[in-house]
Subunit: 340 residues, 2 copies
DNA sequence: GTGAAAGCGCTAACAG
DNA sequence: CTGTTAGCGCTTTCAC
């Protein structure tokens, strides 16, 4: 709260005794200005605390020099970590980025999209856009002009045919989970999760085909649950109180798994045998000693690194346009899974 | 990915057969345009999918019509919730907002401030700025010009004398916690937390004065711990393995409390008596059945509501300038605290 | 190498 | 009520 107003290029030019355009040249090009004048301008800029207004810049030049990052769910620690890592790597490589969120999550977990914030970010004219995480429906992003490349992280995006997709291989992840449980002696392995999006349907299908793959197709059971803890809790109760209950439950994500864990914990307190539980995303909560949830690490660093690489390589965005990059997931075993 | 380019006011004007300025008038004022022409313009706008570019608008008019929200830690669920709630209420009241983050949190928890993103948001010329959450040092925000009002949520901000502060009353919160534990029969109540910021020092002091207030001043013990789970774990180990260990531990926040809980859990597994644990912030993790942590609810909705009220009331920002608004916190008792 | 002038998309102060 | 004009902060021809 100090300067009444940011200094403009004009202020700098005046202080340096040159024209506005010359001062501008100093900040936008390498050469073209005589060393002594360049020096003078930089000095004046420093004294005044001048930084170019990048928005005015992108307004004039049609496209800015920054990458826009759009976070689709502030409440999902996985997405936050991917976004933060991406930002950090880009920063290290000298690539400016600007992060924003288009989605407001309500207390009940309903996500409302604010289309004007998508507009707003686009109006800033990013040179590329990174969309982190999925939505039940990615249609709001169809308004993105073809001229700006899009990278989608950790989600499918069939409605965005030109986008580059970087995400973990769900089929491989589910195979890891099912195999892990089988190795621990389980066979009655159930699945709990939503089917409200491309992502969630694909993951459930991956569960089914993994069960099939390991010869357990007949034992496959799926139970619907929205992506929140209490829904996982309810779904698990349903499964475990039914006839022929599973000995292991694979949850769509960590959040749902936490609910499943609560349900299991209650039943154990009532004298029942424990049930193995697995999550997905390996959020920081899964790691907590009190929770200790076996989960799937989506290799957030690798995802972030890949995104940064695409964005900072010449022609990177061109080369990967429309492609889907699947990264190997990793299983993190914790106390929630055990030998039967 | 459809339109090659966003339509401008010119395109609309042309399509409607009027001048650019007349078309502009339709979007910026209520009256001043004849009904039939207004109709024509709106129709053309709809057909072309035109939306005003608000950044060009704020560039020209010196100040935009939106409120900037700056999130200081994407990894703190409390701050996210406050930000999201604020956004939602503002949206309902027709007040545009634009959210961004100036801080990148590294894996080890270190927070690095990207000053250029503060610049960037300021260059957008928000009509007001909401800073959600604190930092070890709020100095990077000193660059905010006096002309734009600042509201700080859930943090102190003595370095920003003109800012309005909306936060929970820490003294009251600590009084609630200590009293709760005393009522459960505890007296050896220790405190674990950092002292790396105004906030954290104030909270520790609030603990000390609460202990004093209840006549337990001689039993007060504080143990330093950075704001991360593993630091809480280590600090708790230290406390509990020392001579005359506490029967209850008050943690600076939920995150640290989770670590404390892990340490307690381990000792219980080894045959020791359980120790009561309390957190602060009532994040969604505290609520999980596996965790069930007694915590302090900062009344996020009340905070968000107050912020929205200040921002949407005429002269609201003026009336509250430089003031600190303390809201009553609420204790949420869960299984982590019990009768001794 | 340097400066003048035009213009990004918009608004605000004018004149018709 | 309508249209013209100038200009936000910047870049980018284009002459000098």
């Amino acid at each position: 709260m100090v300067a009444a107003k940011r200094p403009t290029i004009r202020d700098v030019a005046e202080a340096a005794g040159v024209s506005k355009s010359l001062a501008a040249l100093v900040f936008s090009t390498e050469g073209g200005v005589s060393p002594d004048r360049r020096e003078k301008v930089l000095e004046a800029a420093k004294k005044l605390g001048y930084t170019p207004n990048q928005w005015a810049r992108s307004l004039r030049s049609g496209s800015g020099s920054f990458v826009g990052i759009l976070l689709n769910d502030l409440h999902n620690p996985l997405l936050i970590q991917i976004a933060d890592l991406t930002r950090k790597i880009l920063l290290e490589r000298g690539q400016q980025s600007f992060i924003s969120a288009a989605v407001i999550t309500e207390k009940n977990g309903k996500r409302i999209v604010d289309p004007s914030s998508i507009h707003s970010l686009l109006d800033l004219r990013p040179k590329a856009l990174v969309i982190v995480g999925g939505l039940p429906d990615l249609k709001p992003f169809k308004q993105i002009p073809d001229t700006i490349p899009v990278i989608v992280a950790s989600s499918q995006a069939s409605s965005l045919p030109n986008a580059t997709i970087v995400r973990a291989d769900d089929h491989e992840a589910l195979r890891l989970l099912v195999r892990h449980l089988i190795e621990l002696g389980h066979s009655k392995i159930a699945y709990v999760g939503p089917t409200d999006s491309e992502n969630s349907i694909a993951r459930r299908d991956a569960y089914l085909s993994s069960m099939e793959f390991f010869g357990l197709g007949d034992l496959a059971v799926t139970q619907l649950a929205d992506r929140f803890e209490d829904r996982g809790y309810a779904a698990a109760k349903l499964l475990l109180q039914g006839a022929n209950p599973p000995t292991a439950i694979v949850a769509f994500n960590d959040n749902i798994a936490f609910g499943v864990q609560s349900a299991v914990q209650e039943l154990v307190a009532a004298g029942r045998n424990p049930v193995a539980v697995t999550g997905f995303d390996n959020t920081f909560v899964a790691e907590l000693g009190m929770v200790s949830l076996t989960s799937i690490e989506q290799e957030k660093e690798a995802i972030a690194m890949k995104i940064a690489e695409i964005l900072t390589t010449p022609d990177g965005v061109e080369d990967y346009r429309g492609q889907e990059i699947k990264l190997m997931p990793r299983l993190i075993a914790r106390k929630s899974t055990f030998r039967i």
